[in-house]
């Protein structure tokens, strides 16, 4: 199974509750990921209302940038989850992230060595 690059764990690596995994997948929007992953019930770090999409105030309090906050997914494992389910969801997450990144111009630019922070965005 090919592991993904540019994935960040949110929250302390050890002082955490068993079963929780909160990850940010750079260059991928969390809500898009969940739309592509309908067979798994997960939660994204964006609070989505009909009018706005707010990045999580918890992730922002950690100083995580808005982009990575919007790229976060919370996995909440529990008593009734099996290893088979974990493997299945893991595989599907990797597929989905790879597919979305392939479609992302930002990801392409980053791979070509462009520092996205230096990009001059055009005015609309």
């Amino acid at each position: 199974m090919g592991a993904l690059e540019d994935v960040y764990l949110n929250g302390h690596p050890v002082k955490r509750m068993p079963g929780n995994l909160n990850l940010s997948f750079a260059y991928v929007e969390g809500e898009s990921m969940l739309m592509g992953l309908r067979e798994a019930a997960l939660s994204s770090g964006s609070a989505c209302t009909s009018a706005t999409l707010e990045p999580s105030y918890v992730l922002q309090a950690l100083g995580i940038g808005i982009e990575l906050a919007h790229s976060s997914i919370r996995f909440g494992l529990g008593r009734f989850n099996t290893e088979e389910e974990v493997d299945y969801v893991t595989g599907r997450v990797i597929e989905t992230v790879n597919r979305l990144r392939e479609m992302s111009p930002l990801y392409e630019m980053a791979k070509e060595g462009v520092n996205l922070k230096d990009v001059k965005w055009g005015k609309h």
């Binding site: 955490r16 079963g19 918890v58 309090a61 950690l62 990797i94």
Partner: protein
Amino acid sequence: MNLPIYMDNHSTTRVDPRVVEEILPYFTVHFGNAASRNHSFGWDADKAVEAGRERLARIIHADPREIIFTSGATESNNLALKGVAEMYAEKGDHIITQATEHRSVLDTAKRLEKSGIRVTYLPVDREGLVDPEEVRKAITDRTILISIMLVNNEIGVIQPVEEIGKIAKERGILFHCDATQGVGKVRVDVQEMGIDLLSFTAHKLYGPKGIGALYVRRKNPRVRLAPMMDGGGHERGMRSGTLNVPGIVGFGKACEIAMEVMDEEAARLQGKAAQRARGGIGGCLS
């Protein structure tokens, strides 16, 4: 394997079938009002409530008389903050909490600010943890309550609650802990952690929705709360309203099961499953 796969257990959990089984007779057979004093229907219901109370007390190392039933953790958090602010108004008007608390603590604190309470919202570090020394520094002679959660609902980090409890005790300030995500998953001990008020709820630990509890310390110190719900004086006058007997029975059973399986489950979830997910998804997690 059935699809879709539920992997959102911090939002809510499936009710354990053993819990459902224990609840069912309390809808149709033992349906009495726990406050009915004159017949066996009431006595049966009351007995079930007290058995539930004991099971809840055990999982947090409290006395059953210190458990107040509510509708859920949101109500427990509201009751803790508002109840203390009103009851201890003469002693002070300052509350300390932190940035990543659940909305039911943050929004309650904001509401209290409108009525003149001052609130300090402490920051967290990059890993999501509060520095207990920051808590100590924020204390003033007007501070009446410190409210810090045990486990964060989004990122799962465990706050240094025991150290904060110690500081609160030293300074004689009440300490409330929203342990909604933690109870049944990680060890909770209100004695060792120096907690005076603790919120938790059944539906996060494989119990039913609509039933929660607030632990309210009775000794060293005896905590008093202004009620938010007035009425028949249930729950030692702190929360009036007919008790949700089936919910309480289910909450009790859920706590009992959680205590039994906690260590085993923690090992299972931290072990293979977590490693596979972490290792598989992000080969080099930074």
